[in-house]
């Protein structure tokens, strides 16, 4: 199958993307309207970082967003665990 044209993909995805962005914006506003703060919550910082990934120009956004929400891997874990 030939690669689809970006315009065709964008035309199909636009309303869904717009809707999801609005959902996200509204959810962030909802948190903001609630009492007290979450700025010191790691998940909030991860969310801000993920939004930066989406807004940037570099590709592989889904993979990089996943990594912003992931715990780090240490290749020496077996030595640490003694297994």
């Amino acid at each position: 199958m030939p690669n689809p044209l970006a315009r065709d993909v964008f035309d199909h995805e636009f309303l869904t993307m717009r809707c999801r962005l609005l959902d996200l914006a509204a959810a962030i506003d909802r948190v903001g309207r609630a009492d007290s703060q979450v700025a010191d919550d790691l998940r909030w910082r991860q969310l801000q970082q993920a939004i930066g990934v989406i807004a940037g120009s570099e590709g592989n956004r889904a993979e990089r967003v996943q990594m912003t929400f992931s715990l780090p891997y240490d290749g020496n874990w077996r030595h640490e665990y003694g297994v």
Binding site: P4, V65, Q66, S70, L71, Y73
Partner: protein, 270 residues
């Protein structure tokens, strides 16, 4: 088009779901042993659960024309108590010999602890010694990347493991390449919020190709959709992918993978 759901927890689903699966073309359901939503109080609970997966659920599915197969194991959420897990593992050989059992699964990691690893090593040892196929559960959300890497480390350093007979499940964008490049089968689970969606699964197929990819619903007692595989098929068709490609992923790939189990005795419908 017919399809196979290689990972679905039928024990947690209603007969309405079985009927819907049958109506949409599901021929085979693969059901791994898993965490039932609560920690079991003793090994007898596991024994009865394994009986359910090997005696009762195959009959229930057969009423709708669905061939039911099971995987046997202790899930990572109940693997923290290594001594208890060892008692459960001792039950497994009896069930691994049953005619609808495909191998060891779903086993893996949850919070990536040392105790979980100790139990997993014993399960891998049992699988290797018995020449069983193996189905690995990778952790949820923040723990997934680290846990997937740890599981792959354990498998990579055991040269007895036949990678073509291993599925590493619940892959997402940040783990699927590691699994495919390692020579394993990569499972993609379609969940409404916490794993992949049908559209993202289609993206991964487009990026990595259809070889050694399995798509499943993993539908259970939580938010999940037993018809997620047909949703994926619809997403692929909507993008213009040929029927042959859709069929490869939802039917031929699972057949190729499952056919490696000595107990898989698929009967093609007339």
């Amino acid at each position: 088009m017919h399809f196979i759901d290689p990972h679905i927890h039928i024990a947690s689903r209603t007969t309405d779901d079985l009927q819907a699966l049958a109506r949409t073309g599901c021929l085979v359901a693969g059901e791994p042993a898993f965490w039932m939503g609560y920690d079991r109080s003793g090994t007898n609970s596991f024994y009865d659960y394994f009986r359910q997966l090997t005696e009762w659920e195959p009959k229930r599915a057969a009423n709708y024309g669905i061939q039911h197969y099971a995987w046997m194991g202790i899930n990572a959420k109940e693997a923290e108590n290594v001594a208890f897990a060892r008692e459960v593992i001792a039950l497994l050989p009896e069930f691994l010999d049953r005619p609808n059992v495909l191998g060891i699964g779903e086993v893996g990691l949850h919070k990536n602890t040392k105790n979980e690893v100790c139990t997993l090593l014993e399960l891998i040892e049992l699988g290797v010694k018995r020449n069983e196929q193996m189905l690995f559960h990778t952790p949820h959300l923040a723990d997934k990347y680290k846990g997937t890497r740890m599981i792959l480390d354990l498998l990579r350093t055991d040269n007895r493991v036949d990678r073509s007979r291993v599925c590493v499940d619940h892959c997402e964008e940040h783990t699927i390449r590691l699994v495919i490049d390692g020579g394993y089968w990569a499972g993609i689970t379609l969940y409404p919020t916490t794993k992949a969606t049908p559209e993202r699964a289609a993206d991964m197929v487009e990026m990595y190709g259809p070889e050694r990819i399995l798509v499943n619903s993993s539908a259970d007692w939580g938010p999940s959709d037993p018809l997620a595989v047909p949703q994926f098929m619809a997403a692929m068709r909507r993008r213009g992918h040929p029927e042959s490609l859709v069929r490869q992923i939802v039917y031929e790939n699972p057949l190729t993978f499952l056919n490696q189990s000595v107990h898989f005795n698929f009967r093609q419908p007339n």
